[in-house]
Symmetry: D2
Subunit: 339 residues, 4 copies
């Protein structure tokens, strides 16, 4: 049974804590800068609270560390956990910016594949089935990939300044999805951004509506559409088009019930608006995958390099928007753009 | 070019008149007991009005007769037209009751296949595709057939007494669909009837909600569900279930548009409520089929015997409802039931 | 925490054992006539194995008894558990036949509502949403109810003789669904039965394809369609039609992925063929509902009377098939039919 | 009855000729550089063949001119027909290039609205319903527009050099759709183009796979996806996303039949692969709209200016691809780009 030290005791940490137990792992200890939060989460899950990161890392029953703290602490915690010889799972993003992400992967060296990066959407049953179908050749050569990703509602305004901006905070999921499904790195990226949902977001220097196109070396085209607000719920669809067909991962629904009335003619049931309804399964599968990988000693299926590449694309998207032109992408991610 | 004498100048006669022209036939003359109606329809379609049935039948350009008069006149008009050597198409039902229907087919003798019976739903593109799939063996052996047939709204109350009752007026279409798709005659029928839509219909001695089951010699089961009122429109679906699969002819929709809002999550467009929106294509295809059959001299694909069998099932359904038990069916339709 | 004694250690018992833990209950002890089976299940779930029913019932930590043994033992176990002062949940059916079921409810007297009858489909999220919509008046007055219920494949032939026949073994679920959704008892039932799937089933005196119609006092009509084999998977749909609309609980699918190719045009993902994929959620919700009801001391939402009524309808369906006519139903279930 | 002179006797001219009659117009005369083609089309439709453009324009019964000749002749024919005082409908594109298109609209001056530009997709029932829903405010403010437009198969290779390239030949429809639905002119355009379908197309200097993004003054974003080949048929969908919802015009299907088998689970019927199956209705409605507009003397709903703007966007898309950067768009279309 894999013993876990959990860093962080916030909302997503609670989700992971519950999943650890259901997946047959053992939550050993919890650390949070707010000690009472750590204690509460720990006692709810039959674990101890650690008074320091060090105490958590040194706990004899701890095999692996799950990092669910704020983004700016990820790199240091990853490096300390790896130094302590632990397997790591870290919530997305790898780092709040590209230079920190590069510092992380450079320091990790050969150990990047010991860091499981928490891009939970790779474990969504629909998106994973689409990926599997494409990899199995069902649509021939993938030619155009369209990722639609709209959240039900924007975050609180006070979160915007610390979010890192839409590309690093929200579209980062889609950058990872795109790389994963394309199976090939993009060589060019071009961004469109508008503030249409809430003018306050614009005043804070961010956008809330975005459209990014990317092209790979072989000419595959990818489009990502983001909006901070979709009144009908999480609108997260992926469409892969290829030489032999098309596969679409459509939005799941609450049930398979259909309604007819004088104004409704087979209306499907609602789309999800609460993240645990939409993504609960993906979080559970993610933790199961992590735990079984740790037990088997296999490399992470999505790792620190994937974390780096997603941050790189997010920053390149930001640069494209500022500069008003496409950005050429480089394999080593070692680039800087004018602010 | 096939020349047509049209008997009747009512609503459905107008539909047919227009379809004749579009299908490359020629509407030659029109007869109706209301002479002004005949004249109006005739002049709208570049035809002459006949002052008598005889005049219409004797017109030298007339190759075929299309009967769209009231049900009680069908048998006589069919027999006169056949005697005059014309091909005939007759609106459903063949006759208002079983004894008249039997009189008709007995008189016709070998000529039953020169009478094309206007069961237009056989020419609906969806229902026809289902029939074709079943005949092609796509679902293996057909085992259960479910026909749902609900009209948007009941007819005017004053029509109820002369309608012949729900089974003869409305479910007759479904009896023909069932026989056509089963490819085998039912040997037993059992009816359920209720008056749930409008108590006035019950006071007039009729029902408005019905459920009929039938079984064939080989054990195939068929269910027909009828209601005089469906607030969402014509609800006319067929489901064929078999040893190797299932095929469903679903309700068509106005367009392929889907809507999302805070209360709507991919709602399909509306179902039809006007009979010409729902069945316009089937009427056109029916007339085209009739005209090309007349031109080619081939037997009618749906003929007077089909008309007889449908009337027989309708009357047997009525008898089952009155007697409260299943009725055994006979191949020659020569049966009488207590009233 | 509610302590449970589990009677039976077969497949469904294992499903329940797992659900008890997940729902926050405690599996205390397990009894099975095959002692090794009880021990295995008990040790896998941190419980003890009981050497007798009595030992299990007398265990001081046991608050409630979950009966998942063979059908012929249900009544005795229910009565003993109730006598021991325990709450009971019993797998369907209440009893293998009507006389045993009546003996059970008569003996229970006022305690029928302390027996939670395990009709898990009431807890399926889709069917429950349909029920809720109807109860909320979304479709006005319910007028026609259609329940389609087809299993992926027939059971092993050697199970057929001890199954009690299709009506008692398979359609019993649908009888409970029909009563639950109608909200009114049927007053008449008529059955159609064929052997189309496997002639061996017919040789064993059973049918594999069935169609039953029922009518309630107020004239509501219900149709149940059963087949022992649907090559596309569990086909379990419910359609409620009423004065103001229609609601359909469609088959759920593995994912929301859609496929396009030269022969496929938006094909939905597969329907389930393994019972735990199809009904896993309903079993979990059922156990949660049972445990929280025991903790709160509230009457079972589906109880021994519901169990009796379902057996009664199953036997009436069998009688109708034998007699070839509809059967009138009585509220007290005190009837006998010729064999 | 509006009398029509038809210029051109090719495939699309035949489609229009048939539609004129069905819409209650009169095909008076037909002109084509290949005289025998004109004669054949004319005699099939009860019209005369004209030996010259002049003869056709001077025919006393001609009220309007329908131009369905090759693209390079459009401008001259438009100007001659307008000079002759006739109403004009001209197939897309207005002109084979921007300079000719500008010459046309400049010459037309105030008469641009007497030229009905044949963008038939505006008359597709699904796309028109989407436009109507958006204009009615159903989705609030339109924020993101996605147009997918894929043809079943590429044209013959020898057509590619004279096609003007994918943007002017194929995406021109989508540029018109985008402008029409956005209700606002784009101010920036950026193109991505690849040759993935057939390398021969690339050798001829064209692309077969394209993705274009545009932004309007107010920040609305539009994406157009094109491919010359979709093995499943015409894939022409439009998605409008806005502040209050989303509306999608999905691909129509041959029928509403759904299929189930051991490998198919409710598969919808096929998408169209023949242009008249897919767009027959839109051509008919287009002609009806043109004829009724001529009869009423109202301005064309889609006119020469719309034709100009679409050509302008097509050329700007080409320039963006060549230059590898977004192009700023100007209202007067008076720009030139380096080749």
């Amino acid at each position: 049974m894999v013993g876990i030290a959990l860093m962080g005791a916030g909302r997503i940490a609670r989700v992971h804590a519950k999943a650890i137990g259901a997946a047959g792992g053992k939550l050993v200890t919890v650390y949070d800068v707010v000690e009472s939060a750590a204690q509460s989460l720990a006692s709810d899950n039959g674990a101890s609270a650690a008074r320091s990161v060090e105490e958590a890392l040194q706990h004899p029953e701890v095999d692996a560390v799950l990092i669910a703290t704020s983004s700016d602490t990820h790199v240091d915690l990853i490096l300390r956990a790896i130094q302590a010889g632990k397997a790591v799972m870290c919530e997305k993003p790898l780092a709040p910016n590209l230079s920190d992400a590069l510092r992380c992967t450079n320091s990790l060296g050969a150990q990047t594949s010991n860091v499981f990066l928490g891009f939970n959407r790779r474990f969504d049953s629909g998106h994973a089935a689409l990926k599997k179908a494409i990899d199995a050749g069902e649509i021939g050569n993938l030619e155009q990939l369209t990722i639609t990703s709209r959240d039900p509602a924007p975050p609180p305004l006070d979160y915007i300044p610390k979010s890192g901006g839409l590309f690093r905070d929200m579209m980062i999921h889609d950058f990872d999805m795109a790389r994963w499904i394309l199976g090939e790195e993009p060589v060019s990226i071009h961004s469109r951004g508008s503030c249409l949902v809430d003018p306050q977001i614009g005043k804070l220097g961010d956008i809330d509506t975005a459209c990014v196109t990317m092209v790979t070396e072989s000419g595959k085209q990818a489009v990502i559409l983001n909006s901070r607000r979709a009144v009908y719920g999480y609108d997260q669809r992926i469409e892969g088009f290829g030489s032999a067909g098309m596969v679409i991962s459509e939005n799941p629904r609450a049930t398979s019930v259909e309604r007819y009335s004088s104004t409704s003619f087979g209306a499907p049931d609602r789309i999800f608006t609460f993240f645990m309804d939409r993504y609960g399964d993906s979080y559970r599968t993610e933790i199961e995958t992590f735990l079984s990988g740790v037990a088997a000693g296999t490399p992470a299926p999505v790792d620190a390099i994937d974390g780096l590449k997603a941050v790189y694309l997010a920053e390149a998207a930001g640069a494209s928007l500022r500069l008003g032109k496409p950005i050429e992408l480089k394999g080593n991610c070692e680039v800087t753009w004018p602010e």
